[in-house]
Symmetry: C2
Subunit: 386 residues, 2 copies
């Protein structure tokens, strides 16, 4: 397998983008990535795009070809593939793209992700998102997606003594980071009190524990490391890309407060990259809910089980801490256009490792991403380095 680099990144502004469409969101991100890599579309050999539920959000399937067409990539009739694993759809696209470059099948590949969630009403959105969980054994009996994560939070708080305030601090920290990110949906700081007093969604989770509904797209361009300096002075190496699955239903897990797929994907990624958690300088984790960040920090090995609340309270996951988590603002503040999130995470690591992250810049030479589908039935972890 060849060494692979990321040579271009593009992320749209995240938010409620009434003025644009599903396809145009991606075109905007793709064009930014091409420009960033100083290349033209006809240099692309293949494309992978992550998307969860365009069938329900914009009544459109066949997303790979649609996106390739509107991004001007059909001239060479390249292969264009949509990958889907709910909220980990973008992570899958990145891993497939990485694999085809590493194997020598392709030289230059674009990996993207896109979701347009605000073209339908809130009840359709909520129901479509419930499609990430088990429709037959969870959705149809009334479990919403926040409801499932609320069960994880309840179990975790009971077993490990996490306080309501510590949980809120995840959101406060991510909003502090997002306030410094020009593409973030919610660029404002909040307090622990704001979180604790916000509307109850599914006890103990409140509105400000939950990532929002968001439109957005992201794209990154990969090529062999040996070609990378044709396109950029700051290629970022892909040290690992690993994926794992678990039971789709929460009730089938041996332990709902540990995501075994996170543990498995993390271990595989560390082994591929030949590093340990101690060597990771920053990490973008999948904080679809505040409790998800707490679990992820532990399941990826950054602290022992039960200690992530204290790590957060001590400021160790903030900018300047021992392991900055979600410098982008995470899903909570940056926003969570489902299919795009896994790619945006990679773009954030690349921007940081290049030293282009502006007010939210941290000092890191190796960064990691952690992208989760559903309540943990799919996890993709990538490790990148200078």
């Amino acid at each position: 397998m060849r060494e692979v680099a990321v040579v271009g990144i593009g992320v749209t502004e995240f938010g409620e983008k009434w003025e644009t469409s599903f396809r145009n969101l991606f075109v905007e991100a793709g064009a930014m990535a091409l420009e960033d890599a100083n290349m033209s579309g006809d240099q692309i050999d293949e494309m992978f795009v992550g998307n969860m539920s365009a069938g329900r959000f914009v009544l459109q399937e066949h997303i790979g070809a649609l996106i390739a067409d509107y991004a001007g990539l059909v001239g060479n009739h390249i292969p264009a593939t949509r990958t889907e694993a709910a909220c980990a759809s973008g992570g899958l696209a990145f891993r497939q793209a990485y694999t085809t470059v590493a194997s020598g099948l392709n030289d230059i590949v674009i990996a993207g992700g896109v979701e347009k969630m605000t073209d339908v009403g809130g009840s359709v959105t909520t129901d479509a998102l419930a499609g990430a969980a088990d429709r037959e054994w969870e959705g149809l009996v009334g479990a919403t997606f926040p409801g499932l994560y609320a069960m994880i939070a309840t179990d975790y708080m009971h077993r490990y003594g996490l306080t309501r305030e510590q949980l809120a601090m995840v959101s406060v920290k991510n909003h502090a980071n997002g306030a410094k990110n020009p593409i973030a949906q919610y660029r404002k700081e909040i307090t622990v009190e704001d979180v604790i007093r916000s509307t109850r969604v599914a006890d103990p989770l409140r509105l400000l524990d939950c990532s929002p509904v968001t439109d957005g797209a992201a794209a990154v361009i990969l090529c062999p490391m040996e070609m990378a300096r044709q396109f950029t002075d700051t290629p970022i190496r892909v040290l690992a890309s690993a994926q794992a699955c678990d039971t789709i239903s929460l009730h089938d897990r041996r332990d709902i407060s540990t995501l075994d797929a996170t543990v498995a994907a993390g271990k595989r990624a560390y082994a591929q990259a030949g590093v340990t958690p101690k060597e990771i300088g920053m990490v973008e984790v999948h904080d679809c809910f505040t409790i998800a960040e707490i679990c992820a920090i532990e399941d990826l090995g950054f602290c022992a089980k039960g200690e992530a609340g204290k790590l957060t309270e001590d400021g160790q996951t903030a900018l300047g801490g021992s392991i900055p988590v979600n410098t982008s603002g995470g899903l909570k503040s940056c926003g969570h256009p489902v299919g795009a999130t896994g790619i945006k995470q990679v773009a954030e690591i690349v921007a940081q490792l290049r030293g282009e992250a502006g007010a939210r810049q941290v000092d890191a030479e190796i960064g990691m991403t952690h992208n989760v589908g559903g309540t943990g039935a799919t996890v993709v972890c990538n490790i990148l380095g200078v």
Copy 2:
């Protein structure tokens, strides 16, 4: 890249499967494939599953993990990925699986496809299928999927003099083949008169020109050729797997009666396999409508443009002809559970090359598949040989 073989196949009966569910359909096909390969699920390294629109048909996304879970494959936390390109979703799954084995990333991979289309009403089905075309520039202005293929048929018949009878003969031949296939949805022979007198769907296409709405699943197991004889005495080699895209809208094509993505994917597949159309002994093409088979035969190089009607009329595409087309009964008679079709095509070639195709057995050493998404915005071609 390593040589890859198919060592196991499984296809459910196709039809209106009221008695089973989306997930159980796949489990049935997957279990058959494992049994056929004399292996257990814990030997699988990775899984790819093609599915077009479970989000709309059964309100379920996150298909890879769901299927891996219900197929008993989560114990090792393998990666499980859904691929989607409308009716070519299964073809994409096969190609990704092939790539990961050929590259050495994986040893044993399962590629599957599944669609459960009859759990919703007909109008939802039709609208979901229209998601394979361009929703904004085709669907929203009233173009149905049969309507788009009717435009191709009208253009083709006008330019090349194809007769209504010749078009019907595609369906008659495929029903004759399907009548010999135990898994086919419509196991009965029909006449040219039956086709011509059937209900008008979108002029000139009539009901018996159109593939049906179908539930079904298919799975195949791939491994390196050097391991294949551990699992089967009749491994079938994958000589090529190629994919191409084109504009999603018909009106953006330079010529609507030639599918440029078919031409591109076909040429790539021939080049990979080092063969010419003359060396192909049989082919499963994507006859979602009769006109699609006519175009495919020509675009893949089995005869010159405009001659596929005569080739069909002369019986050259029938069992025992010079190039048997759709020995399985094709999408028309065998049925078209969208995500499963691309995998079922591979399974048919494998069964034929093994000499296990019973009453529809043809004499071939090399076979080809042709799987189309939408009106030709995605095409996957595979070539397999003994």
